[in-house]
């Protein structure tokens, strides 16, 4: 494997890790709200969160590029804050990936919260646990399978993204060139051997991740 391949692998893992952590942070309150709200906005927010499941990644990438560009609202804001423009930077890639992988994290956690239901929280309240206390001591531990699924799916999905990265991050070595883009480059250059190494690695990785996920879920449901 070439050093550029290793750099791409490293960058991909770094991106997926940062994105997963951010998604758990952002996705948990969204999932909680969706699981418990009786607001009419629930449908709208749910649909927005699910959009990346059906939209072509290039569409998401395109709009994010426009928004974060020099004339977009986000771009103006980041420039005014002295951060500069986000496209073609690692932070830009992180933000784009957060949007792209959002449903993969929010939906399992939301389902887990919904499965836990109101009753354990009511019980916790009758035992003097305030809402914040009950969230950490009851809701999160009981929703653990959802968090594990969400984290694994978010991580794996970010590792596999291609279209959004290409639109927003381009192909800058060590900065935005992730494994999927590197594979594309190898194939373009007819370097099939290198492409095989990386593609095979991705295949194996994805399979192991899903195997782990399904094994974990089965184990959780039948603790005996």
């Amino acid at each position: 494997m070439e050093s550029s391949d290793l750099a791409a692998v490293w960058l991909t893992l770094k991106l997926a890790t940062v994105v997963t952590l951010l998604l758990l942070l952002v996705g948990t309150p969204v999932a909680w709200w969706l699981a418990h709200t009786r607001s009419r906005l629930k449908g709208v927010v749910g649909a927005l969160v699910a959009l990346p499941l059906v939209l072509p990644p290039t569409v998401i990438g395109f709009y994010l590029l426009v928004a974060m560009g020099p004339d977009g609202p986000v771009g103006r804001l980041t420039e005014a804050l002295g951060i500069g423009l986000l496209p073609f930077t690692f932070p830009g890639l992180v933000i784009a990936s957060v949007f792209y992988s959002l449903p993969f994290v929010v939906q399992p956690i939301q389902n887990a919260f919904a499965t836990v239901g109101e009753r354990p929280l009511e019980v916790a309240a009758t035992l003097r646990a305030g809402p914040w206390d009950a969230f950490w001591s009851v809701a999160v531990p009981l929703a653990r399978p959802g968090f594990v699924s969400g984290a694994i799916l978010g991580f794996a999905h970010t590792i596999g993204e291609f279209g959004v990265v290409l639109m927003i991050g381009g192909n800058i070595p060590n900065k935005t060139r992730v494994v999927s883009v590197q594979i594309y480059d190898h194939v373009e250059a007819l370097e099939y051997a290198q492409a095989h190494w990386l593609a095979g690695g991705m295949l194996l990785f994805s399979f192991v991740v899903l195997l782990a996920l399904y094994t974990f879920n089965a184990g959780w449901r039948n603790p005996a």
Binding site: R119, V123, A125, T126, L127, S137, V138, L142, R144
Partner: protein, 359 residues
């Protein structure tokens, strides 16, 4: 009564409405009794603050938890209550000990570990402390839930049909523990139930709810002895008599004593002097103008007719009797009532065919 529990709740949800104004004693077990849909669980949830009844009021003595007229509202986690739900509601990720300590840790800083052991002993779960909830039987789970609620140092214990999800055998397993609590607890207990047996066995004060309205509220004996109530108890109409074990006799009978006389039952294991609650169904009481010595029915007490009322059963009347201050109900046919000339004030003899012993 100065220190009493007052609850005033109005809930309107289209197809269901609740409108009650309750005053319950601050000691002993009070039951909210009624058919499903009568609003008893909603009432209990409103007391716990799990349900918000706008314009409501709830106070235990001087401690006000809700008084919307003065803008007082305590969220559930700020109310010193213990609650046991209908189905097992233990936290599955915590051991029995973890479940029991959950509320205790949040109430009493530096909680006394002996207290947990004591309560575990009281409810017969001391051997289960390290088990996880899925490894418990339904009855054990409910006992843990009761213990957990008690350890949170409540000022009131709310039980929402704690036995409803259990089969008859599990119920028999828990009832003695509830009776023990009755004896040892100084806090009031509100018990939601639709089972006449549980109510007759455990309760001191009885509130009848029907269609979201309070139909009757009073001591168990008074409410059960009323004949004007809609057929809440239907075929189960009857009274509860507090007796004492007086004597074990040679022919395998035990004599129970109460202020109105004696009742003989099959030999009991309880020691002489033990108090025993008996439930006497109206359908098991027949009336005679002269004492029947030539009949097989053993239990016969002198009684005076108080009044009569129609029953849900066609052709029958319910007769309320007074047995030296104890109410007794008899369900007889209208024809018999007319033949015997049953009228208020008439002295006669009540024959009790069978007695259900409640402990």
């Amino acid at each position: 009564m100065s220190a009493e529990i007052r609850g005033k709740f109005r809930v309107d949800r289209g197809n269901f409405s609740l409108d009650v104004d309750l005053a319950l004693p601050a000691r002993g077990i009070s039951a909210l009794f009624g058919p499903s849909g009568s609003g008893k669980t909603t009432c209990l949830r409103a007391m716990a603050g799990l349900e918000r009844a706008p314009g409501g009021f709830f106070a235990i003595g001087d401690t006000v938890w809700q008084d919307d007229a003065r803008g007082v509202w305590l969220p559930t986690h700020r109310r010193a209550l213990g609650m046991v739900f209908q189905e097992a509601s233990l936290f599955p990720h915590l051991s029995v000990r973890g479940n029991m300590a959950f509320g205790q840790r949040r109430t009493v800083p530096g909680a006394d570990p002996h207290r947990l052991a004591e309560i575990a002993e009281l409810l017969g779960i001391a051997a289960l402390l390290e088990r996880m909830p899925p490894a418990l039987s339904g009855g054990e789970r409910q006992r843990v839930a009761i213990a957990r609620a008690l350890l949170a140092a409540p000022d009131i214990l709310l039980l929402d049909e704690p036995l409803a999800a259990l089969d008859a055998r599990r119920k028999q397993e828990i009832l003695p523990y509830l009776e023990r609590l009755h004896g040892e607890l100084s806090i009031p207990v509100i018990y939601v139930s639709h089972s006449p047996d549980e109510v007759a066995r455990l309760v001191d004060h009885l509130v009848l709810l029907d269609g979201g309205r309070c139909v009757a509220s009073g001591s168990l004996h008074d409410v059960l002895g009323r004949i004007d109530l809609p057929a809440v108890f239907a075929d189960d109409a009857g009274v509860v008599v507090e007796t004492t074990v007086a004597e074990h006799e040679a022919d395998d009978l035990t004599r129970l004593e109460f202020s109105g006389g004696h009742i003989w039952v099959s030999r009991r294991s309880e020691a002489i002097g033990t108090p025993l609650r008996c439930r006497i169904h109206a359908r098991d009481v027949s009336l005679a103008l002269v004492p029947q010595t030539q009949a097989s029915i053993l239990n016969c007490v002198a009684a005076t007719v108080v009044n009569l009322a129609a029953t849900a059963t066609p052709g029958h009347v319910l007769v309320k009797l007074d047995v030296a201050g104890n109410p007794l109900l008899a369900r007889i046919t209208r024809r018999s009532a007319e033949r015997l000339g049953i009228r208020p004030g008439l002295a006669l003899h009540a024959q009790i065919k069978s007695v259900a012993l409640l402990a």
